[in-house]
Symmetry: C2
Subunit: 591 residues, 2 copies
Amino acid sequence: MINKRLREIRTLMANRGINAYLVTTSDPHQSEYLADFYKTREFISGFTGSAGTVVITKDEAILWTDGRYFIQAAYELSGTGFELYKMGVPGFPTVTEYLLNKVPVGGKIGFNGNTISFKLYRELLEALDQRMLISNLDFISDMWKDRPSIPSDKAYVHELKYTGTSAKQRIEKLRDEMYRIDADYNLIAALDDIAYLYCIRGNDVAYNPVVFSYALISKDKAYLYIDEEKLTDELNEHLEANDILVKPYDEIFEHLKEIPGKSNLIFDPKTVNLAVINSINANVRLVKTDSIIAKHKAVKNSTELDHMRNAFIKDGVAMVKFLNWLETGTPTGTVNEVLAAEKLNWFRSQQESFVEPSFNTISAYGENAAMPHYSPNEQNPVILKPSGLYLVDSGGQYLDGTTDITRTIALGDLTEDEKYHYTLTLKSHISLSDAYFKTGTTGYYLDAFARLPMLKHKIDFAHGTGHGVGYFLNVHEGPQSISTRFLDVKMEEGMVVSVEPGVYINDSHGIRIENLVVVEKVEKNEFGEFLGFEVLTICPIDTRPVVVDLLTDDELKWLNDYNKRVYDLVESHLTGSDLAYLKKATEEVKR
Amino acid sequence: MINKRLREIRTLMANRGINAYLVTTSDPHQSEYLADFYKTREFISGFTGSAGTVVITKDEAILWTDGRYFIQAAYELSGTGFELYKMGVPGFPTVTEYLLNKVPVGGKIGFNGNTISFKLYRELLEALDQRMLISNLDFISDMWKDRPSIPSDKAYVHELKYTGTSAKQRIEKLRDEMYRIDADYNLIAALDDIAYLYCIRGNDVAYNPVVFSYALISKDKAYLYIDEEKLTDELNEHLEANDILVKPYDEIFEHLKEIPGKSNLIFDPKTVNLAVINSINANVRLVKTDSIIAKHKAVKNSTELDHMRNAFIKDGVAMVKFLNWLETGTPTGTVNEVLAAEKLNWFRSQQESFVEPSFNTISAYGENAAMPHYSPNEQNPVILKPSGLYLVDSGGQYLDGTTDITRTIALGDLTEDEKYHYTLTLKSHISLSDAYFKTGTTGYYLDAFARLPMLKHKIDFAHGTGHGVGYFLNVHEGPQSISTRFLDVKMEEGMVVSVEPGVYINDSHGIRIENLVVVEKVEKNEFGEFLGFEVLTICPIDTRPVVVDLLTDDELKWLNDYNKRVYDLVESHLTGSDLAYLKKATEEVKR
């Protein structure tokens, strides 16, 4: 089947004189998860992983993907005519290196500009000197006969009682900023930016409660481009009340053509696609800007935070019930990784205003947990045993908040190494959670706070320490992050981030302890303005693997205080064995 | 007198149609300290501080300086016709804001391009849109009749037994890097870069053992531009043996004119002045590059490090003798801040191969120590009393190393606050000194390690945590530093930096504890390559102010281990009361 598709696309390429055709894993809004309609890279290559890039030439077809998918990709590509190029492995050229080598000077590289971000386009343009980029070639649409339809679920209002500020207020705040930088128009394609700005939600992207749309803000008008079938009376009323003008989704292209020359149009090149930019009149001034809405969205208001605190208690109740179920069931040999993930989702679904999981649960027993991005094997799920560590990284979308939590649980006897690494992870977790820092501090600087105790033991982990989190929106949200990659983004009061250090030992065990925290003001004194964190996540941290002698008095106090706070907030929602489990799990640890 | 000079320079300005004349505090090599010959800003304004910028217009004369000098500058400028503009204080325009406001479009701004770095010139050019910059106006030379002469001290060889690698080898290493980036010429003006590259030293700049010179490296030639009177037979022999061609200092201008067009010439715009760049043929390709030599110089070789270890023991011996003298003398009321600084310098001068202090000693008692850059009042020196804290920040230039050390000493009873702040400073000092970190870590990331324990107590300090240090060269040396300002410079094995956190309480007390450390390899394992620090500075850290309960077991162990190591390395060099002092000062602290 894939062979046939390759033949077909090569015919289309030949007809248009195209030397290489590029297919990325993306939709027109650079969403983290793809609707089936946009799984073009999977259609053409047969590879079903979540990340990858395809280049097809007259006689070669290459798929690039990263270390998470080497085994799966090799299996899925075998016999298709595709070759696997391993990203990050020496000896394999990058996509641009490959194109530069394969496409002669003056040659043509084709792709669908609708799903290529303007940023990627500029990078290709710079790297692929003297080659022609043909951006309006949507060969896959021509070929894909039984293509799934674009999601047509209804969009809905995220009510003012949840959002705290109205769409009108948010648009005004955006306009204030546009005024300051002399912008006449702001073109927005990032779905979570639009959902936040207009206080709307939808069901078009898995795990992210967003709706396919574009937005355009001028000095006095606010437009929403959306498929008519997604609208309801209630939504129309809301949009009208907030002075938002509704246009059909595809009309963005025509409408952008009408923007008068000499206007300043700002857009974020990371999320706006090339096709919409190409539809803009050539003498409009295009100004690349990091999303202003992302900065506003990142700072949660007091209404949002109050609701989030409530959502985290509900999430904690679900987690405790799940952990009780897990630990009761494991000794019977009936619990496997897949069942556990499903059960956890079920416990969450019993909580008020639950909508969906916020991402695909990582449910990993023993050595599987050594892979930070592990997905359980659905066909042949691993059964949990009453020994060693089980790691579960999961989250929920509630109308009143998005959660993301990782706990690593002792299911029975542990090795000395498991305890040692668990305690180091906990030390790193506390080191950051319990820190104060100055106004103006970046996430890169804070990353050092988390790693310091672990590095002291010559141990480290190969992923970020934390990411921004949305409010009933995407679980991964910018602009802030906490990682070893420097970004000039300062932590601000009201920003929510995850704190999730870990230790991973190949073929043995993996540990991660993750809470969400919100930046709060602590004190202003002669030395400056100090910020700190309020921990939002409410769920016991397992104390059984802790080597108490490795903790300082301050660290031990933090652990006991935290578990006590969990008990106080959750106990009234539990009864019977669940309550007994909570009591035991939050018992004070003594030296 | 200043009034008369202002009238004179305004006549010169009027004759050339100049709207504003700019005088910076700098020499042609952007040295940290100025020879008297280059104190043009002092000549024109009467202000004697170490930092400041002057702008003179038809009817105004302004001096900008920073907070260290507000009182002194106000005093020295009074009645001169100069007005003080306070840097960093709201309400005062910056130099460029002032120029933009005062000089009309098409107006002329004059200065001496010989002492303006190319970097500053580009910044002025960008900021002062539509004004003309006239860079060849050396009005001060025209006016200054009794000007001191340029230093004419002899230069000398830094022998191979000290440097470990020869000038020839260092030039070859530089050429390898030039080849890699396709550079035909490297123009060098930074005096410490030249001193390092050619293994020469001199006496032209206070505290920095360097010699006024330029260097030019081509693919097959190495030139040194230097005044003939600085040369000796021994030096000439050394230069010849290392294939270094000697030319008169001023011939650089003529010689640069001869560089053929289309050549690639690299230079560091931070240290190369505008005048030399202007003498280069217009079709030579100028490529701005951070100094390659600075990167090589920053990484000390094993010969250099072995010598440094020895220099630090000598420095420790001098420090212990000084501290014993200080503590014995203070109760008699005969020790003052100035005397103490002189005495410390004398103790250093008794050590083998001592050359000069590495900077002006900060000798500060009580509340004076709250000013991190304090200079004692020579006229009316403050007398030390047997109570409170005394801070001394000093260093020496030895043929076998440059030292820089700060100790804060309890001269008698301390307040609870003094003890608390001393202990926090010590915790911060240990937190960084005792840390491990990964290859690729920046000084900005490491800064977080130092501040973490202090920030936990909502306390911070307003200066950098550490700076690079030369090897019998400048005590402040790049490219690495440890501070809250992000610089993309990675710490490498062999780099020497200071670790100097502090706490400063206005009108009360000031604390700083400073050691120099060198980056060393620690371990390579499955988690990556780990680096750490070897402490170079050898001198007891005062334990009397330590609040032991605030230290963790690890911190207490570090302190005791450090002082024990100091004892072991220094005791054989001391006798009598000095040895008794060392014994007491390095006694183990117990809970």
